[in-house]
Symmetry: C2
Subunit: 336 residues, 2 copies
DNA sequence: CACGTTCGTGGGATCGATTGCATAAGGTTG
DNA sequence: CAACCTTATGCAATCGATCCCACGAACGTG
């Protein structure tokens, strides 16, 4: 039915082997033969059959992308970056959405292996370390992003949550704030723990301690953000640092409804640089966790593994950090 | 290296053909043999080689998803829905981001065909109709979403932009508004044209006409939204309908900065139900373009094509509309 | 000029699962 | 019991690209 390499070879008057070599850019081909084959391929509209190529060469030029969802801004940003970079490097991306369910994740991992992916980028649950290590041993490249299981042998690219929270808190302290309220995630989550640690550390470095009345921790959920903000406002903070991304959706409207002047009465910093916060009135100072760079670096590491570009440079199991950046806008000022 | 069907067959004491049939659920297999093969496969940790299977059977169980980007809420919502549905049906999704560039789109289409995708879902540029029709003719399933080229033979699933804008405008008119400002996209875009048509039609049905001073059209971009809002406020509208999604990011902060009471002095409706608008203060009435349903319906149609579930029911080239829903919240009230 | 070397090409096996055809075993029926 | 059908299984070809091996030609070089 479709045009195969055999047809191209026939049209160019060469053997299949020669045609294959001509199209794959082998050096052992005379320029004239190559030109003839390329012309024939173009004229016939030849499209190589990836399944056949994968079967024989054991290279699929596919990479798997495993993540929780695409609604979260960090996740879809990473997905975009990964896909774009993959396309440039002539790889295709198989998208897998796990909802952070280890069983779904396991199923995807097996399927991806069945498709012969050359590598995979995982925002993983950390619950399938045995399987991921087995896949690594089979020669499948792998990079963990944002979350990394200690038992995993894959290199990881992590966000600098602690540093980001530290920078935000320090910024507020340097402005002279003493009562800095904090809304974060539960300590059972990685980011919840790390961001709180950064907050705490910054306070300690300024000779202060965490006041429990100024700290709210809860689910990643706007409703919690609204309640937490209401409670915190009673403690008369001069600054608020919302380190729980989803809670921001609840916190901001609550501040507006309460008629709080920002930054006059309250300075505000949020985590994650999403478009809304830039366009809010006043524009909100944020900590950018560097989703784009996380994606870029992950792809760099993966391509290095797959194509063995610089085998020794990045050891297996190494852990990289992408710096968080404080983006100062109009929502912070010295306390009155 | 890896475990192949041959190994499974050997372990179960049957031939490769039998093993294949047992695992693929053929009926011509005795229950005992099937059990033996399945046990052997499980014990050995057999993982079928999809490349080999695709090559021989011409079924890849892959579908391509071609879209502009993942930042836009409608797009990443559709991507999520499509992937989830695909996973349930045992298909994998290859993600392709085009930035609405026809050349990139063409390249992806060829690549997807090379991988032997069973079907594809396109939020397309409309500039590659010849190629997409050729792929359709080759037996690749296809559904256009949101945008459909007239020359394309693929069925399409479109958003009801006109109806959505009509519903929003009618809602404002029914509340008694007479000066309803409109911010939309350029008339060269499909959604820009359709939404304006809905606005115009609703006005006409209420015996009114479009007043050019109350209409702003421009790029999908927050900066434009801010300028447009500033200009429109000088016309003393009692309601504002922002039908240009990206412009909303600029329009809302401008309203806040101007100290406009919503809905006291100005009623507000925005297009697209993104989380922020639900949590804004006051919660914003929106038109939901039904991204989830667009994705669901597209997958239904695609799977029907691929698996010929009900061959005649959905004719090729047919066009479906997903209804837009007005979600009323707190941002609209009768004019003073 | 005989011999080694390099370069370009072709032949044919191969990757692993599927599938049309052949066949054997068991069951039914006139 | 012979003829026939059904059911379960095996054999071997096949999908299309890749790549090892071998071969011939061209080209020095001692």
């Amino acid at each position: 039915m479709a045009i195969t390499l055999k047809d191209v070879a026939g049209a160019a008057g060469v053997s299949r082997s020669t045609a294959s070599r001509a199209l794959s850019g082998s050096l052992l081909i005379s320029p004239e033969t190559r030109a003839a084959v390329e012309e024939a391929a173009a004229k016939l509209g030849y499209r190589p059959n990836r399944a056949a190529s994968t079967l024989r060469s054991r290279q699929s030029h596919l990479i798997g992308l495993v993540l929780n969802n695409l609604i979260n801004a960090s996740f879809h940003t990473i997905a975009e970056v990964v896909q774009r970079r993959a396309a440039v490097e002539n790889y295709q991306v198989m998208l897998c959405i796990t909802d952070a369910d280890p069983r779904r994740e396991e199923s995807f991992l097996r399927t991806l292996a069945a498709y012969g992916v050359d590598g995979l980028i995982m925002i993983g649950t950390g619950k399938n370390a045995a399987l991921t290590n087995a896949l690594l041993a089979e020669g499948i490249g792998m990079v963990s992003v944002i979350r990394a299981a200690a038992e995993s042998a894959a290199p990881s690219v992590l966000a600098a949550d602690r540093e980001g929270a530290h920078a935000a808190t320090t910024h507020l302290l340097d402005l002279g704030h003493e009562r800095i309220a904090f809304i974060g995630g539960e300590l059972t989550t990685n980011s919840g723990r790390e961001r709180f640690a950064g907050y705490e550390q910054a306070l300690r470095e300024h000779g202060r301690q965490v006041e429990q009345d100024l700290v709210e921790r809860g689910p990643f959920d706007p409703a919690f953000g609204a309640e937490a903000t209401t409670r915190l406002l009673r403690q008369n903070p001069t600054a608020l640092f919302t380190a729980n991304h989803e809670a921001v959706f609840g916190a901001l409207p609550t501040l507006v409804a309460a008629g709080i002047d920002i930054p006059g009465r309250l300075s505000l910093i949020c985590y994650e640089d999403i478009p809304w916060l830039r366009w809010w009135q006043p524009a909100v100072t944020v900590v950018d966790n560097g989703a784009r760079e996380l994606g870029e670096l992950a792809m760099d590491l993966l391509l290095q593994q797959i194509e063995k570009r610089s085998p020794g440079e990045h050891g297996t199991g190494r852990s990289y950090r992408v710096g968080a950046k404080l983006i100062t806008r109009a929502s912070c000022a010295p306390p009155r």
